[in-house]
Symmetry: C2
Subunit: 353 residues, 2 copies
Amino acid sequence: MKRALDLAKKAQGMTSPNPMVGAVVVKDGKVVGEGYHKKAGMPHAESLAIDAAGKNARGSDLYVNLEPCCHTGRTGPCADKIIASGIKKVVAATKDPNPLMCGKSLKKLGKAGVKTSCGTCCRESRKLNEVFFKNMQKKLPFVAAKFAQSLDGKIATRLNVSQWITSLAARNKAKELRDLYDCVVVGVNTANKDNPSLNGLTKKPLKAVIDPKLAIKPSLKLIRENGKNLFILTSLKNKNKRSKLFDKATVLFAKEKNGSLDLLDLLEQLYARKVCSLFVEGGAQTLGLFFDAGLVDKVYAFIAPQIIGGKDALSAVGAGGVAKPGKINLKSMRVEMVGPDILVSGDVKRYLK
Amino acid sequence: MKRALDLAKKAQGMTSPNPMVGAVVVKDGKVVGEGYHKKAGMPHAESLAIDAAGKNARGSDLYVNLEPCCHTGRTGPCADKIIASGIKKVVAATKDPNPLMCGKSLKKLGKAGVKTSCGTCCRESRKLNEVFFKNMQKKLPFVAAKFAQSLDGKIATRLNVSQWITSLAARNKAKELRDLYDCVVVGVNTANKDNPSLNGLTKKPLKAVIDPKLAIKPSLKLIRENGKNLFILTSLKNKNKRSKLFDKATVLFAKEKNGSLDLLDLLEQLYARKVCSLFVEGGAQTLGLFFDAGLVDKVYAFIAPQIIGGKDALSAVGAGGVAKPGKINLKSMRVEMVGPDILVSGDVKRYLK
């Protein structure tokens, strides 16, 4: 199963909207075939592994980090192929998180006389496909929040100077993280102030700018370089405005809620467009609104070994904030050094009222 | 020398205003005597080690983490005792940092026919006695700044609720740190709001409250429990005021500078009273003023795995702050877990303009 997980991981950042899946066919204690899902539209891991095993598949065990599918999508159903191949046992790490599919394939396999087992490396498997699990269970994109601050939590000085607080190594690591997500999100003030590219290290992810009043500067790199791959997220109030922006980017219109855009509405619209995961980079107001709305799943905090100070200096997460400590807690914390900086990451446990 | 350093460390937090010193007498590759300085007024490490070695001292080597003294204080000069004992070689980790003494004893020993060497484990030795080195070189107390914040750098919520952000383990670790310093410092607002004890885990350090307008509440634990061991640091403008506080605590009067107390003036006054090290715990304004004045030597940041958010929530270091990133950088960074929280500590490299 560890091998299956390692295989799955090879396509990290490439499979959206599909999960990462690896499969290993084992016969008499030996690996006789393996495969992983490389990209949506390409063959499934199980199918590749069975093909690789050829005749050896008969009487073998199949290890796979997610319950095989039993529906016909762009590829045929894996459950049928498994049955046809003569595999005698399927070991899955987790059931399909889609409530409509969950356990269906394993049942089907069982009825056809294939032994099944589920739960090996369950935690690692869920973690690896955290985006897919969120998508299937909530029908919403997975949301990662990222910020880069001084040790005392500042993202800019009192004069609003923010370049650079963290090291080149940390900034490159942040680019690497962009590669893992479908779409990078910033607020319009950050976009206008920094004129960023928001590209990954190897990928050009989708980009989105939260821009309630259509205040984005038309000269920005984001607009010039991304065309319709840039989402401008604005208020329904602007729907009947005439703006050249409407031709230059994909503009989505959201309801307003408490004077800000209704982020849940926007997330639903993005998910309907197959945007499965967001990497929200700021600024403070944008990050704050995502946290206030209870929509963040994961946090990446880069911390530079320096003090900035200043009561008027911006800190990383603005907007409203919680009333009492202990309401937005992180679990599965990870602390690592990236060059001279510290990267703390963790998953939001749950939002408490 | 490692043994000498370990011995010295046994009295950590106890030797002020003296340094921590350990000494080991070695003859024919065997330790024949050792000792460490336990407390000001008690015998010096070298003296104890030589006594322990007895007759074996003759012809032996002495390892000590600081150049021996050659002045008569509350105890006799160690250099004379070394010469009298017949020790043939002295290995010191560093010279005495006091510019008036630096190298004097080693020279005296050399003239008397004792071989000398200096520099072994120099870095560890300086680090161990960072307080003493600062004292001798700058004639000022060593200043450590401590704060406890959420991952996004907040020390309270938008409603100014701050209890508790970090865990009990982290709060106990902070108490343990107080034991290492002579005096714990807070601002008057923090004192009035939290009514803290500010005691260590095993020690009752001196306390100081920065209180420009004499606004401290007379009912506070700090006043009731500490008597003259509480410093109230206020403005010269209050010198002729009549206040019961003047009887209940030690009140020091400082000049004002840019509308705040001149912290350098205060530090000089505290140092004149043999306060060799400060542990500044906040709040944000107090920490900010220390950083703005360029007076902080070391930083301890406790970081809790939670997000607080909010543009109106206080962040750890207030007051003015730097104009550009990269002006107050930390070195010798250390990252450790304290229960669920992260403790990042480091030394201020130097203040850049």
